[in-house]
Amino acid sequence: MAQPEAFADTDDRELLQRVAARDLDALAALYDRYAQPLYALACRILGSTVEAEESIIDLFQLIWQTGGRDDGTAGPVDAWLFALVRKRCLERLKQVKQQGRRLTESCAEANGASVRFQAERQEVIRTALATLPEGQREVLELAYYKGLKDHEIALVADRPAAEVQAQARQGLARLDHLLSHLWGVLGR
């Protein structure tokens, strides 16, 4: 199997093309690049290391079986992977609830020395999220990590639907502004 650095200069799209051409080394490189942040997101949604690990294995198995990308868009690969793992984790969470199972394995937080390529990006986005007003952050978290719909968010957060709408829009717009500024500072 090729060493990970063999793909250091290969961009995400090319990696996916190689996966589609049944290149197992390319799948390994894609895993090395994104398994850590995807696992972290799975842990955040599911709150269980066991379920998160299974989600990650299922995800990469699916990518291998389907030969790469199937959403028909040209957006960034990382955004596609996040969307994919989020969707699968929310479905898994729903199943767990339907089956009346309890998730007992907890995901301990850690400052992963294992974070690699995306360390800088993670820090920036975490900081940007932390600066959002609490109401906006809460709406974003309930929608993104819990998969709640607007009326459910209004119910859980105990606020009018119109306020939820406004906070979702303002929160994302503010994040967009902050991130654009930060990428500029970091020369990205």
Binding site: A28, T49, Q61, A79, R121, I125, V139, R169
Partner: protein, 286 residues
């Protein structure tokens, strides 16, 4: 069909996939015909695409990759392995000759089965050892690469942080305040710099011993209306602390900056000893 203002109101929820099915369809019908709304939504969806990076990072179990690839080994991956180690001509064992004694054929047949079973077992063991050794070598090599990447990432991060600090200190609107040690820690000193243009602040503190017990330092901006937490931090064993973060929206006229000792995780309002304090000088004393 929805109007543009209606779509704008729902844009955030749509980007977060938090709209009910019927509303989502209505909105998409509008998007198909309205490039302006489409553009606006694209930027929100781009942001949602990276929100996943913002979560704490539990360490990825190192053995997870091996588990994935063991599972994939059951899939067709292109490279064919031999279906059997070697082929045996039955006549070599005297099984196929017309004059062969039936008992001899049975005995030889059984013998052949035993030999083949042993050979197959040996082959499997050899293959397992070979694949095991290759896997170990790969794991060692990968670990070395990951360690190098971690070291490189740390250096790059330090350089970027230094560049950010310099950018803030060179900003045209930078304001700098000196904070003095208070009764709890009279020898401590700090400087707080902030810039609206850079939307960030930077604190450098010296002679600040690491907080003991389950406590932490917390920096506050005090205005005539409230005290706003700027963040919690720890100092190094050498008594130095350097941290930088976003400038929050502060309501009211700035009066002072404080550092207090608070329970781990910080407090909603200052509750512990004030260890450093600086007063707002109007022009920031630059």
């Amino acid at each position: 069909m929805m109007t543009c203002p209606e779509v704008r109101d729902l844009a955030g929820l749509y980007a977060l996939e938090a709209l009910a099915e019927a509303q989502r369809r209505d909105l998409e019908t509008h998007l198909d015909a309205c490039p302006t709304c489409w553009e606006e939504l694209a930027s929100l969806r781009r942001v949602v695409g990276v929100v996943g990076y913002g979560v704490p990072q539990p360490v990825l179990p190192p053995e997870l990759k091996a588990r994935l690839f063991r599972r994939l080994e059951g899939e067709p991956v292109g490279a064919e392995r031999p279906s059997r180690p070697f082929a045996v001509d039955p006549s070599i064992l005297g099984l196929g000759g017309p004059d062969a004694d039936p008992w001899r054929r049975v005995a030889l047949g059984l013998g052949a089965v035993v030999v083949l079973a042993c050979a197959w077992g040996g082959y499997q063991t050899w293959q397992a050892a070979r694949y095991g050794a290759e896997r170990d070598e790969r794991a060692v090599a990968q670990k070395q690469v990951e360690e190098r990447l971690v070291r490189s990432t740390a250096v790059i991060r330090e350089l970027r942080e230094e560049r950010e600090r310099l950018a803030l200190l060179k900003a045209k609107d930078v304001q700098i305040m000196t904070l003095s040690g208070q009764r709890a820690l009279p020898g401590a000193t700090a400087r707080l710099a902030w810039s609206q243009a850079e939307q960030s602040w930077l604190l450098t503190a010296d002679h600040l011993p690491p907080a003991v017990g389950a406590r932490t330092y917390q920096l506050w901006a005090a205005t005539d209306k409230s005290k706003v937490s700027l963040g919690v931090f720890q100092s190094n064993p050498d008594g130095r602390a350097v941290l930088k973060a976003f400038l929050p929206e502060i309501d009211g006229k700035p009066m002072a900056a404080l550092v207090t000792l608070e329970p781990a995780g910080g407090s909603a309002q200052p509750s512990g000893d004030i260890v450093l304090m600086g007063l707002w000088q109007g022009d920031g004393g630059r």
